[in-house]
Symmetry: C2
Subunit: 320 residues, 2 copies
């Protein structure tokens, strides 16, 4: 089925099949040229040495442009306690992306029943119990629970690199289920939070442009779930709280893809996690981030799968 | 309750309470001195800048001693498809450590029912469905599915760093639920696999000793589940397939802790994943690995929480 996108027509029309074909072509090129390895599940890949080389260079370059923040380094596991997850209210806005973890708590007899069911070709997950853990959907989530109470004057700023999981299987190599975000998070006053979001965008844009990528900065349109979600999505665009750095991975006339973001949460986490500023107000927060796999794959899409053949200026910007 | 361990007596007796106290003391020191951050769930921690500094140094040193392998770099996400997990037979041997992932696949109406249950303070995981994904319990697992078929002459050798999850909540900071293994895996003939396991041990031991750690190499005793598992555990020890590099984190007279391992799988994965050698035999495999968080925490336990105050020789060995 070919669906013409609203507002486009004639030779530049973006059709779903065109876009799907472009995504499939990039995916094939990345797999055929040994950049990614197919793990047999949409949106899950093994990453090879050439991928890691570029990925590490992207990450190091991102760290360099935020060095002036003197951010506190924090790393978290790919899972977070359910209690922390609950306070983010993620299950209300993005239930379809969430992922819960179950474990086996039975005895020898229950284990034999599980294995017997498995032997019969039946599913055995019903023998497991919820483990009070979720896969972390947003890399900065675990930090807010550590900040309940009163912040120092000037707030706090964090360097957080970690795993993000979102349950959205896709054959688009720009949309992974498991990926890494390197986030620089500030928690402070309404003014310092807004300044953090707005102040970092020009440097992030310039860095991505130095990688030879065409970049635009646009209001984000997150995939809030369901009918209430449509309203939340409209609010998000109208209030212009979150911006995305987008690049034309699949061509100028097709939807551009977000590879970075700058997000003002206002008092969302400050309220949920009871974080106050030194002057007694509810803390505001903001984070800026690159999606590391997205930037990396955008580079392979733009310049080809052999980094040694990339333009000299791009290799210099990446210190490759 | 004080339980005296078999074979010990008198002043050097190891009691459970003694050991628990030693574990609690190390955990407190790591938290109080800002090496780890408590996330409110046993065995899940945030890792700070000082932790990451040592962790990165340990990882880099491990890579240096295996450089001669010229291993192919592969990185995997923290989750793996259920189909791949099934072929490892992990659920038969270690069901209590396994972790399954569920997602929400319902519509707007089901989502409202989920949120209503949540509002009433009820658990809402029953609204989710198994997602055909497992958390990866062993970092090398995903590689075998990529090798089905015939290997080149000489086999293949991989450098695999990744996330491992095992559902064993513990207050012992040496036993995390989510951690990283850096594994060097060889798949080839019975002889080359055994040579890989045995040949790497001396270098791994020497490296850990250069870090100022006392090391012994002992047969592993994995926690196979249940009554059948007791038999498997005895077999493992008798056949001496897997060795562990252990260090006395909690004192000479208390159980030493594994911080590295060298494991010969024989034809386990070769058979399960239909991998054959160039001469037509069933492939054998072996992997050697450091548990990166375990080595890192063993260093903090041995030398204190300020790396700048560590012995000069230790800092030199770590290039710190």
């Amino acid at each position: 089925m070919t669906v013409t996108a609203p507002g486009t027509a004639g030779a530049t029309a973006t059709s779903t099949t065109d876009l799907d074909a472009a995504r499939a072509a990039l995916r094939s090129r990345l797999l055929d040229d040994g950049v990614l390895v197919d793990l047999g599940s949409p949106g899950l890949y093994g990453r090879t040495g050439v991928f890691e080389r570029v990925y590490s260079a992207v990450d190091a370059a991102e760290v360099r442009i935020h060095e002036d923040l003197d951010a506190e380094v924090l790393r978290f596991p790919p899972v977070e306690p359910l209690t922390a997850f609950e306070r983010t209210d993620y299950i209300a806005s993005f239930p379809d992306l969430a992922a819960s973890i179950s474990g086996f708590t039975g005895d020898d007899r229950t284990h034999r029943a599980l294995l017997a069911a498995r032997e019969r070709g039946e599913r055995w997950e019903s023998f497991l119990q919820p483990a009070d853990l979720m896969l972390t959907p947003a890399v900065c989530h675990p930090v807010y629970g550590l900040l309940s109470g009163t912040l120092p004057v000037g707030g706090r700023t964090f360097d957080i690199l970690g795993d993000s999981f979102r349950r959205e299987p896709s054959l688009d190599p720009m949309r992974l289920q498991a990926f890494h975000m390197h986030e620089f998070v500030h928690v402070g006053t309404p003014e310092s939070a807004k300044q953090h979001r707005d102040g970092r965008i020009p440097g992030m844009r310039a860095l991505l442009e130095s990688f030879g990528l065409e970049i635009d900065v646009v209001p984000a349109n997150d995939p809030f779930f369901g009918r209430v979600g449509q309203m939340l999505a409209r609010n998000q665009v109208e209030q212009a709280l979150k911006f995305e750095l987008v690049t034309p991975v699949y061509g100028q006339d097709r939807p551009w893809t977000a590879i970075g973001s700058a997000n003002l949460h206002e008092d969302h986490f400050g309220t949920s996690f009871a974080i106050r500023t030194a002057d007694g107000g509810v803390a505001h927060s903001a984070c800026v981030a690159f999606g590391l796999e997205r930037v990396t794959i955008a580079l392979f899409a733009a310049h080809g799968t052999d980094p040694d053949a990339w333009p000299r200026s791009v290799r210099a910007a990446l210190a490759l």
